[in-house]
């Protein structure tokens, strides 16, 4: 059996454990270990994309126990995409953190590795209870990372974040207990088959379980009634941590895609229809709230946190159309929005350090150091964030608009999406003109870290590169969407002995 598939989980887990055990070792060594592990993860991500890109499912049976009795890890196109996105993002955040932020608290590097292990595990696992376990791993690492650096604002935001996620975990277990009680399995592929064959009297309970799961993933992804923890938590976290958290809401979206397009998608009357009908209006409201929040934010980090909410709304509204084109477009937007949100959190820190007072607050007015360089960077990053050409945000938004044009209710998405984009442009240009377009230069500007500046520039460059590579990326994502909408291939890969059924999926 090929053991490469478990490496994205094992490697950061072992590295993190080693960093904890030898915490007395020189700090440079800990940093180096973290870099080595994360760089390997990037290579593994490339391996995953090329392997899964061929269209096959790679299945790893832990302990060689066959599914559904053992836990399986499965690599398909979506999982490969998420793995590589996490690895690239992780590497950027780690590079930025090693500019000095990682020294502000204990065990930053070990926690960072545990976070990556939890994320990778959540993307790879094919078992619903295992998904819960990996959620807990990534959450406990994120609790500690959120508090990294200390301070009152972090303690306050951390408390909310931890409590709402613990309540979410309780709900997750309730949903799992219900599903196990009804179907007698927690392997996702097996569960899909059993739910499809479930008797009609179980349908209400199954719908209830699916909606509880939707609430759980909604807390992670920050859908409208469940998002109020996010702006405070994200804006309180230190810059590289907040940038890494840009992928955390995407874990919720990944889980929604995985569970509702696989586990609840089969059968004559699929259970997921209820979920989509709830998701569509809620996602549109989330999108609208994100736009308003962006305009009403009081600091650049809060603004970025609302940009994350806006991207979640866009993604879920597009996903709940459930067509191949819409899913592909949503995945493109997912890559773009994750990278850009992370870039903006780092940029907020870079700019905040150059201001004489107020860090990144809009209420403070004052000159900013290195106005020319940082102003141009902010201008370009703002264009990329708002989804204007020539960046990948533009490509993904055009694709989303095209995909939703012919759908019933697609015009709602057009209206809300374009209106929020306008609000984003207004908010960003207001920030830019307030900060950079004023007379007076700081007498003694703070030293600008070249390395950090280059890093943020190259992240914006990565976004432009994504737009230039639009064609192959779109091909890959279209195939990913098709694979997602054909769960029988997934089930056949996990359970080779299961009776093959030829029924089509009704989204």
């Amino acid at each position: 059996m090929n053991h490469t598939l478990i490496l994205p989980i094992l490697l950061p887990l072992l590295t993190g454990a080693g960093q904890l055990l030898f915490y007395r070792a020189p700090f440079a060594l800990q940093r180096l270990l973290g870099f080595a592990s994360t760089a390997w993860l990037v290579l593994l991500g490339i391996w995953a994309i090329t392997t899964a890109g061929a269209g096959d499912y790679l299945v790893y049976q832990a302990g060689n126990w066959p599914a559904p009795f053992g836990i399986v890890l499965i690599l398909d196109r979506l999982a490969a995409l998420m793995l590589s996105l996490t690895a690239v993002l992780g590497l950027c955040c780690l590079l930025y953190a090693s500019g000095g932020i990682d020294r502000r608290g204990a065990h930053f590097h070990a926690l960072f590795q545990f976070q990556l292990a939890g994320l990778n595990g959540a993307f790879l696992t094919g078992d619903l209870f295992n998904l819960f376990v990996f959620f807990e791993i990534l959450l406990i690492a994120s609790y500690a990372l959120l508090l990294h650096g200390g301070g009152r604002a972090r303690s306050r935001a951390g408390l909310h974040y931890v409590i709402i996620n613990l309540a979410g975990s309780a709900l997750f277990l309730i949903a799992l207990g219900t599903l196990y009680g009804l179907a007698g399995t927690l392997n996702m592929a097996d569960l899909a088959l059993r739910i499809a064959a479930a008797p009609a009297e179980d349908a209400p309970l199954l719908a209830a379980a699916s909606l509880i799961l939707l609430v759980v993933f909604g807390i992670k992804a920050a859908i409208l009634p469940l998002l109020f923890w996010l702006p405070r938590a994200y804006s309180a976290a230190s810059a590289p941590v907040a940038a890494l958290f840009a992928i955390m809401t995407k874990v919720g979206i990944y889980a929604i895609l995985r569970v509702f397009l696989l586990v609840f998608a089969l059968g004559e009357t699929p259970v997921n229809a209820v979920a989509w009908s709830w998701l569509w209006p809620l996602a549109l409201l989330t999108l609208a709230l994100g736009g308003i929040g962006v305009l009403g934010s009081d600091s650049l980090r809060t603004l970025t946190a609302y940009l994350v909410i806006l991207s979640v709304g866009t993604l879920l509204a597009t996903i709940s159309l459930v067509t191949p084109a819409a899913l592909g477009a949503a995945l493109f937007y997912l890559i773009h929005s994750t990278l850009m949100a992370a870039t903006f959190f780092l940029l907020a820190d870079l700019l905040g350090r150059q201001r004489e007072e107020g860090y990144d607050r809009f209420s403070a007015v004052g000159p900013i150091g290195h106005r020319g360089v940082l102003g141009s960077l902010f201008f370009i990053a703002g264009i990329a964030m708002a989804g204007l050409p020539p960046f990948s945000g533009f490509v993904s938004k055009v694709w989303i608009l095209q995909a939703s044009a012919d759908e019933p209710g697609g015009l709602w998405l057009w209206g809300v999406l374009l209106a929020s984009a306008l609000l984003v442009i207004i908010a960003i240009s207001r920030t830019g003109s307030n900060w950079f377009w004023r007379p007076g230069e700081t007498a003694t500007p703070y030293p600008l870290r070249r390395g950090l500046l280059t890093l943020v520039c190259s992240m914006v460059g990565l976004n432009a590169l994504l737009a230039m590579l639009g064609d192959p990326v779109m091909d890959y994502l279209s195939l990913t969407a098709e694979q997602l909408l054909a769960p029988h291939g997934y089930i056949a890969a996990v359970l080779p002995e299961a009776p093959a059924s030829s029924q089509e999926v009704i989204p």
């Binding site: 209870f129 909310h160 613990l166 277990l173 207990g177 196990y180």
Partner: protein, 112 residues
Amino acid sequence: MELLYAITLGILTTCGVYLLLRARTFTVILGLTLLSHAVNLYLFASGRLVTGAPAIVGLAAHSADPLPQALVLTAIVIGFAMTAFVVVLALKAAVELRNDHVDGENPDEDRA
């Protein structure tokens, strides 16, 4: 037995949710603990309630489903660790913010 079990679950969940919605961190943590007890019992019951049946196939005519027991064990361990973490976090917040309100400030006292 099922009735007793269900009533216990209901009482635990009700108390848990009520305490969870309180404004002080200590009661919120108690609420989370009660809720996680209720959830563990619920998970355990998802394998059906049987008495006098071992969780190993072949030892007796009837055997209990071992998987929920394993799930509950995992859930207990995770819940225990999370409770420990949130207790420490609440203490840290109480010391730093000088009050134990979940929002970090008491809306009635601070504005007076």
